[in-house]
Subunit: 585 residues, 2 copies
């Protein structure tokens, strides 16, 4: 037993007790005649005291040598502090040390172990084990644990069974790239790591398990964008004998439970929005509805004059920025420059100030009179003091641009409050999505998603218009979950795969086992998967998932702490019947 | 909503209600004028009835066409059965069907979906999704879920934090073979899948997390023995600021909790046994102590006569088989043949019958008199009616042989009762183990295991005698968990790695990050990992882990259902900068 108490639990009521504590030296203040040491562990901080009068000289000398992050064990008496610290839970007491043992020394850490550290991202990642000693990082990991446990207990109480599906599965070239694992025992063959347990959870439904969940690692070998990880965690769920409504209700219940249990926030019924409306009103399939600034389509009230930019545009769209008339000309120019950045890609922005006296002042007064501008204000819902911002162009592009602008302005205006939670179901996603590069349609969700009843017939004539029984759960402008009702009959699945460009042989080779399973009484089923990393980050009031992962990888997919990936021994390669095939450059 | 109730919940109290049910047709009995259908789902079975008098003719025709494993939905009235079935929870009622919808048809399944199926192992694995429909398989998976949840909640309540460690890590040639994952983004480099999160959990302790657990998949590319899986699940745990005693108490508590919560069995303090005693008394480091038959060393009472076999043996060891004198000569010959099988490898077996009249009759009466045989009985603890079995030879070999014989006889005598649970701690394992092939010592547990205090100095002179702070938890003759107190200072770790044959450069390349971490105030720490697959199987009263894994692999590491591993596309290989290097044979 290294300790009788932890460093967070001693109070005035313990005064007079002899205790043994262990932990890290946070800092020490050496006044010569008195030495104070702050001792830290996961649970808190306790002040140790050594003083000339009461501490033997040898121990005083030892105390003055205790460096930052030394691991020590002390035995001593809990005494009342002369000057109490009301900010510390243990601030009423300190420990008059009678015995001190250095359990391990420490070099000076490469960055300070403080809430606000001086360590940069790279250094913190290389010494992640020191970074984890910092309160915010440790609390994030403990927070994640709490969310996981709450999810598991909720789903388990609802009758879901946690089933572990395999990690060594089979590669499917369709979709994102798989990570693969060469098999030594099966020469020339490879396993793949799962991008999700999709087919296995469907097979569990065919197997009659009725309600399945799993918190499971998934793997995608993508070119990493910022804040993407090659391995990530899903809360993966599936139910049988259900309709879309049952799924939405079940997982709305889970999300409401998490908000209540973890954040203490009660939220009523989640609003639902059709995918088409989300695109029309927010330019985005994951709208942040914590604030307004809905899109207003202005074609009717802009294309009757001689302004060629608008007249030639497929879509003219505006938003009313609340209080935006306070922006100076310079500030507006900054916004215009922002939308013209290549990442956003607009050619320019038209605006109209809504003055307090009811008049308007626009950047296109040459073309539009007060009556026109009043219409713009009316359609966008702008009030006195607002600013109407207008973009125009090809529909998809201009929606994406306006969506970016809307988020940017909201951020600047402080409308994205991390303490406010606004969940939203987006439903009726398209079944297929056009790949503009190849001109082919591919599955928007995945090839197992069921089209809306009666729409299968449209697949040939209007593939882009077929809607799916697919839905996303959006929280504060982030997709935190998504799913669909699955196809459960062999014929529909075969039609879908054919439309996705699979030959019969390819379909058989890839998904033969699933098609076979559908021959033996597959029940109607559907499900949903949450991205746990993002869910936890958003519940934690942040948007960077890396801060909620114990050992994340960097944007090149490297773990800089353990220095992986790394070259293999030649012997290991030979055993796997592999040769490197690297072009000299 | 596909159903108002499930198939396990309707009772007499529901009579008169209209209900909608869905599920699979278990079987139907068609008498012409009346058709009964058993409808099955995860929750149970409900009897449906269609009869000439009350059912429209068209529906009667439909009912008679419902085949096994068809998925149907029915609406009807709950009525009281004429002949109740007390064996079924729903046996008081049946459903008079008013509407039936076939949700999916089914081919005749390749084996019967019954508790005792006619399907062989291979067929069941190929159609695992049908196998899972069988009650015993489904109940095993649900049982596993219950064990997992109980583990998580217990540890969470004890302050342990579930932390997800990475799956894409770095290969360490030491130990078992790693599965590796080529990195596309880091040309010529590979990740490895973890054999366990060992180093990461130690780093979490260095990071001050204090108590960690995770239920986590681990991977080992071994030549598979029966009942080994290339991917398996561990309950992985680590604690800081603890001594061995704290760990044993904590995980004894967990195991006791599981036995109570899952099996309803209360067990007191777990006995503890030194490794050396386990080897001496049971020839085995995971003794099954549900029954006795301890080894007795007989050198002193056998090597004083002219029997060369014993005189030349390093060890003569006997066990008293309770009631074994009832064996016929033929049965004893069978036992002798059993120990002579190559898998056991004994050259023969000597025995002595303990007759009811107090006399003895041995297979070596030519060499030993009644007084000698009385000594054998005394030392082995044999009583009248028992059989003393004696093996001799080189100590390690003869212990292994006797251990196998002891288990074999216990099995035959019905002493391995799956309803009895006998946990045992085996402690004080050797630090190192001699590899007889290479003549080198390697770490018995792993290179991070701490030697017993004060024994580090013996590493040079008597490496085989150094004991470690390492322990196994044994349940009914199976190792269900094992762990150790870890080294937490850089010097000791360096000495260990040197003794294990790592050069300084190799140690640096492999474990540099851990050695670095030990420079910055690593606390004393230790832990344990349970094998979840085996723990669940044993708690479930079985010893085959495959029955408790949803989608297991066969002995060649193949998933025969999805047919993995499989060849890769040439394009995928090229992207990974790999070539197959297969010798034509």
């Amino acid at each position: 037993m290294y300790r009788t108490h932890n460093n967070g639990e001693l109070r005035a009521s313990h005064v007079g007790q002899e205790v043994t504590l262990a932990g890290w030296v946070q800092k020490s203040r050496d006044k010569g005649f008195i030495v104070w040491v702050d001792l830290r562990d996961r649970y808190g901080m306790t002040q140790l005291v050594f003083d000339e009068e009461r501490t033997p000289a040898a121990m005083m000398a030892e105390a003055s040598k205790l460096g930052r992050e030394f691991v020590i064990q002390v035995t001593g008496e809990v005494i009342e502090r002369e000057s109490k610290n009301p900010k510390m839970p243990t601030g009423d007491i300190e420990i008059l040390v009678k015995k001190v043992t250095i359990l391990n020394e420490s070099l000076t850490p490469p960055f300070t172990i403080e809430d606000d550290t001086d360590g940069g991202e790279d250094l913190r990642m290389k010494y992640r084990y020191l970074d984890i000693r910092r309160n915010p990082v440790r609390e994030n990991l403990i927070f994640r644990h709490k969310v996981s446990m709450a999810v598991r207990n909720y789903l388990s109480n609802q009758g879901f069974v946690d089933v572990e599906t395999p990690y060594l599965i089979k590669s499917t070239p369709e979709g994102a790239r798989d990570f693969v694992v060469p098999s030594r025992m099966n020469e020339g063959q490879f396993y793949a790591l799962p991008q999700s347990p999709q087919t296995f959870k469907q097979l569990l439904m065919v197997g009659g398990l009725d309600k399945y969940f799993q918190i499971v690692k998934c793997f995608r070998d993508e070119d990493l964008r910022a804040d993407r990880q090659p391995e990530f965690t899903q809360i993966d769920c599936e139910m049988a004998f259900i309709e879309q409504e049952d799924i939405l209700n079940m997982f709305e219940g889970l999300t409401r439970h998490l908000l209540k249990e973890i954040k203490g926030i009660e939220i009523g019924d989640f609003p639902r929005m059709q995918y088409d409306d989300a695109m029309r009103l927010y330019g985005n399939d994951k709208p942040d509805i914590r604030f307004d600034m809905k899109f207003a389509e202005l074609n009717d009230v802009t294309q009757h004059k001689d302004f060629g930019v608008f007249n030639s545009a497929e879509l003219v769209v505006g938003i009313a920025v609340p209080g935006g008339n306070k922006y100076t000309r310079k500030e507006i120019d900054k916004i215009i420059n922002w939308v013209k950045r290549p990442q956003v890609g607009a050619l320019g922005m038209i605006y109209s100030r809504c003055n307090d006296d009811g008049t308007f002042k626009s950047s296109v007064d040459k073309f539009y009179d007060q009556e026109d501008l009043a219409k713009w204000a009316e359609v966008t819902g702008a009030e006195k003091g607002d600013l109407v911002c207008v973009l125009s162009g090809e529909t998809n592009k201009v929606r994406a641009q306006m969506s970016a602008l809307r988020m940017h302005l909201a951020e600047e205006l402080g409308l994205r409050d991390p303490k406010v939670f606004a969940p939203l179901w987006v439903v009726d996603f398209p079944l297929l999505e056009l790949d503009e590069e190849t001109g082919h349609y591919h599955a928007m969700h995945h090839p197992f998603t069921s089209p809306k009843p009666g729409q299968l017939e449209m697949l040939d004539a209007k593939p882009g218009e077929v809607k799916a029984n697919a839905y996303d759960l959006v929280l504060n402008g982030n997709e935190i979950g998504g799913g669909s009702i699955r196809i459960h009959d062999k014929e529909t699945q075969a039609i879908m795969l054919k439309h996705l460009g699979f030959s019969e042989e390819e379909a058989r080779a890839q998904f033969g086992f699933l098609m076979d399973a559908f021959e033996y009484g597959a029940p109607p089923h559907g499900g949903l998967a949450f991205g746990l990393d993002r869910l936890v980050a958003i519940l934690g009031g942040q948007e960077t998932i890396r801060d909620f992962i114990a050992f994340p990888k960097n944007n090149s997919g490297r773990d800089v702490m353990i220095d992986a990936p790394a070259p293999l021994d030649q012997e290991q390669l030979s055993e796997l019947n592999l040769k490197l095939d690297i072009q000299a450059t």
